[in-house]
Subunit: 264 residues, 3 copies
Amino acid sequence: MASPVIALITDFGLEDWFVGVTKGVILSINPDATIIDVVHNVPRHDVVAGSFAVLASYSYVPPGAIVVIVVDPGVGTGRAILCMRSAGRYFLAPDNGVLTGIAEREGFEQLATVENDEYFIKPVSSTFHGRDIFAPVAAHLSLGVELDRLGREVKDLKRVEIPSPRIDGEALVLTVRWIDAFGNVITDCPADLVAEVVGRWGRDLALAEGARRLKITDDYESVGRGDFLAIIGSTGHLEVSVREGNAAETLNLRIGSRLGIRKA
Amino acid sequence: MASPVIALITDFGLEDWFVGVTKGVILSINPDATIIDVVHNVPRHDVVAGSFAVLASYSYVPPGAIVVIVVDPGVGTGRAILCMRSAGRYFLAPDNGVLTGIAEREGFEQLATVENDEYFIKPVSSTFHGRDIFAPVAAHLSLGVELDRLGREVKDLKRVEIPSPRIDGEALVLTVRWIDAFGNVITDCPADLVAEVVGRWGRDLALAEGARRLKITDDYESVGRGDFLAIIGSTGHLEVSVREGNAAETLNLRIGSRLGIRKA
Amino acid sequence: MASPVIALITDFGLEDWFVGVTKGVILSINPDATIIDVVHNVPRHDVVAGSFAVLASYSYVPPGAIVVIVVDPGVGTGRAILCMRSAGRYFLAPDNGVLTGIAEREGFEQLATVENDEYFIKPVSSTFHGRDIFAPVAAHLSLGVELDRLGREVKDLKRVEIPSPRIDGEALVLTVRWIDAFGNVITDCPADLVAEVVGRWGRDLALAEGARRLKITDDYESVGRGDFLAIIGSTGHLEVSVREGNAAETLNLRIGSRLGIRKA
């Protein structure tokens, strides 16, 4: 039987050897591991963005996979590391809120700290737990080590406050969750809330800032070049785009920015 | 026996989770698949550049491989998706001309539409067919599903017009096909046309624009630092470079730009 | 038994198909090969930086691995290619000094030229030996071809001069070996020399240039935002950082730059 997939979500970037040695450690322990690079460009130390990247991807990694999430501003401090069983997969992450999204959507079946240093690379460096703790623990999990061997069972995890999309008077108030390489602005607005807004105000809307027109549509070709459109994107959330342009730059938006949409 | 390789050529970039979830879908269906990232930085929606990337790489992916090409400006519209058997490999791509180069060089043995949604991830999103159609279809092909199960046999594919290199009076007129990360300008000029030009005009030539000297040579060290040279590059085409410099920036060239070379 | 890992260290970048076709060649010869991308962003043609990237990573790739190092300014000239057995792994690299670091730290058990073109892809291009020589030779090694089949045994390799960190009067004089994607400045100063400096001068030090304060510490949180700190990083060397900032940009440092640290 194939070994479970190990899926990596990090803020390491791809410029250095950090991802490479993480994989080397995994394969040193489990030569049959299959590793997927889900994303390595989570904005550095951005736990809320990391939480969204998990939501955007977890259901597409194979059932049984071990999802390793290293967005870890507290590396080298006393923050705990957790292993959570949820949605048919394992999630290995620092206890810093990066699991908030998945825990709120799916709950969890089992949750334990990662403390048993029998599974660590020693000496453990103070700055690179991805290599020295996350990678070897993931490899041992993929070999069949039970979650309860890793540490103590715990009842709950740290959660970060993530603002909810809402209709506030005459405006739909959203938060930017991700900006892709093309400048498409992925918001936190789910499809059902989009449907409600369209029911109330129609599809021809406006951005609150600057009163630019924004059309809610199903494809990129129903507005002119340089015009704004919004579409239910591949994560199931509303995405704001500029046809053949870069919406994030045009609107000066970053991850975490607020965005208002109102009746035209 | 090892499962056929699945080779990915896309314009997704590497910043987001788009490549990662594409691989997750493939491995969910065929856990033994071997995946190669050929290139993910085809300029966005540039079908002609994608066609060249296929030509530069296909003969180096293992025979039997499934080459998945997602350069797809028409995603979400009615454009067809094709699966083409050619040169001992399968090519899965939108019917938008991105297969022009390989079809013209190698012809094809079999060609079918991809319509059988039994092999798709549902619901199919309107913006990410790489994840919802191309990935699962490629995985099923790698498991042995026959091409004729995917859709209807068709006779031909959409082709884009790709200009040919030519000698026009006193100038060799070329088109830029790719610019690599170092600024080397890969043209469409094959080795036999280079030989013809050298036979007529010698190796000491000039760029039509600005009359800069250009030497046709076999290595980077036969001109001075900052000087232009042209070499038969690894794709078998003439490449224009600046020794220890960036030719594309210096000449302000982009993919698709014309480039004239003449007698010095 | 699993096939040995093939680990890639190159200056190819990730924008083009260069890494992809290198992998395609390997898998065409050994379909069971497991390939790790250690790092592809060694600064182009920088043999000294490449030598450091090898030192930072080799002990984390699985024993028995074949480490392929393509940082090769002399491609297409007469420079030799070497295969070196050292530290339980194979290192395949141009004979240009890029093996200096590993050879000086670990010595070697066997050293041979790579000349037997029976293992090359033909015709060998003049610009892409990664694809035409390194990849197929690595694949054949991973299938069990003996090192002495590749060429002639040789006694030594080319070495580049790499400056040593030293205490020079009142200053610790270091060289920048790498700058990571976050602007952390990885120096050549090993932990024992750091201990000696701390013993003499304490932990509150200063940068020679500009007299900025620099604290030697164990975590990023013991200085204020925007302040300088130095830490023993994950390679075992002193790294200079700015808390929540970019040290390399702030100090205008590049790989190879000198850096002085002195008593505050």
